[in-house]
């Protein structure tokens, strides 16, 4: 049955991922984020007093620790994906036009990539700082 309805038409536009796949990723990244963020915060307060953990040497020392780097990087990726997709959802609901929707999609993806790149840069540099 050929129906020219907006739902069907929208389906055609969604070339990359189905909305259900996106939202599954949203949920999974959300749940995963809980664990990594929890570990991250624990390390801020459980190993040494909070104030101390923020001292330059301690922070740099952390960046020498490979498992910790992995942790930070995964927080970065998971939370960025989750957060920017969340933002995309809210913005998509705000206005509806092809221009706006395409813009929102491109911008949130771009912002996500930029943030991940920027955060990764910090990790690489901080890691490098320790070897000097």
């Amino acid at each position: 049955m050929e129906h020219l309805c907006s739902l069907g038409a929208n389906n055609k536009k969604m070339a990359m991922l189905r909305e259900s796949q996106i939202m599954k990723i949203h949920y999974i990244t959300g749940v995963a984020a809980i664990f990594v963020v929890a570990v991250h915060i624990m390390m801020r307060i459980a190993i040494m007093p909070y104030g101390m953990s923020l001292e330059y040497e301690n922070v740099i020392a952390n960046y020498q620790n490979i498992p910790y780097i992995v942790l930070l990087e995964s927080i970065l990726v998971l939370v960025s994906i989750h957060g920017f997709n969340g933002l995309r959802v809210i913005l998509l609901e705000l206005r509806q036009s092809k221009k706006w929707e395409d813009g929102v999609t491109v911008l949130t993806i771009a912002a996500m990539i930029a943030l991940i790149a920027y955060g990764t840069r910090t990790i690489i540099i901080a890691n490098g700082l320790g070897f000097e």
Binding site: H3, S6, L7, N10, M14, K24, E93
Partner: protein
């Protein structure tokens, strides 16, 4: 949570309900004021409120009051109504700020001596209390709300017989087919408030109604139909649809159950109903 706490709250609410009933029994004959939203955009009339005094009794509904006002105070009030018994879905409007059916809301249930009536929000406004439902109906249309089955259209030559459906099979979808398309849920939903293409609670719960009916053989297609940018994922379980639904449809429930299938939490175990062999009649 502790069961007791829940129970306590529930009994409290029941008591409150009972008191409301009592209050209503003692409702005096009197009059009150309707504060009616008036506007006719096309004719260039800008929005304002009219206050009209009407006599009321214990059983007077807001619709009765409005029709009285229309007949004897201001005949130009624009209002949509038909069945006056909460089964056609015409008379949805915001009464004291909440979407309700005018014919299903007794003035005695409302607090205060003044009742504010406004058109449903989220529907394009036409005039006074009347709004345009075409987009709402279009959303309903878009979820393909009919049984899809090769033998849905009976051939007259076929043996006359029904699909075998147990009462339990019926109960799975019956609640959702209570929907009278009054649009209250659509008016209450916060996503609909901003997303003009979101299918909305009514349409999505109807998608589930046909999805779970075991006479239907197109569950996959139905899931695909709602799985898109302005489809089922734009429901964030705000629950307001179910809070205002006058018929107990609980669209929020239908939507989440349908999404359970999309997420793979639930499997569609429904066995397609069979036709019972029967003697052909003349």
């Amino acid at each position: 949570m502790t069961e007791q706490l829940i129970e306590k709250i529930e009994t409290m609410e029941k008591k409150h309900e009972k008191e409301k009933h009592q209050r209503e029994k003692e409702y005096p004959k009197s009059s009150l004021t309707l504060k009616i939203y008036r506007a006719n955009r096309r004719a260039g009339e800008s929005p304002h409120y009219d206050r009209i005094e009407v006599p009321v009794q214990r059983w007077t509904t807001v619709l009765d009051a409005l029709l009285y006002a229309k007949a004897y105070k201001d005949q130009s009030i624009g209002i949509r109504y038909s069945c006056r018994m909460a089964s056609c879905g015409s008379c949805g409007m915001k009464i004291n700020g909440i979407p309700r059916l005018a014919c299903y809301t007794k003035v005695s249930e409302l607090q205060g001596r003044e009742i504010t009536v406004e058109p449903l929000s989220n529907f394009p406004h036409i005039r006074d209390l009347v709004t345009d439902f075409s987009q709402f109906f279009a959303h309903h249309h878009n979820v393909e709300p009919y049984i899809q089955n090769d033998i849905a259209d009976m051939q007259e030559k076929n043996k006359l017989t029904e699909f075998i459906q147990t009462p339990e099979d019926v109960d799975k979808y019956l609640q959702f087919s209570y929907c009278i398309k009054c649009g209250l849920c659509y008016s209450a939903c916060p996503t609909v408030a901003t997303d003009t293409q979101f299918a909305g609670p009514q349409a999505l719960s109807q998608a589930y109604r046909y999805f779970i009916d075991n006479r239907d053989t197109a569950p996959k297609e139905r899931l695909n139909l709602v799985d898109n940018r302005h489809g089922i994922w734009r429901c964030h379980f705000a629950g307001s649809c179910s809070a205002v639904c006058p018929k107990g449809v609980d669209p929020a429930l239908g939507i989440q159950l349908l999404r359970g299938h999309l997420l793979g939490y639930s499997k569609n175990e429904k066995k397609v109903a069979e036709l019972e062999e029967r003697q052909k009649r003349d």
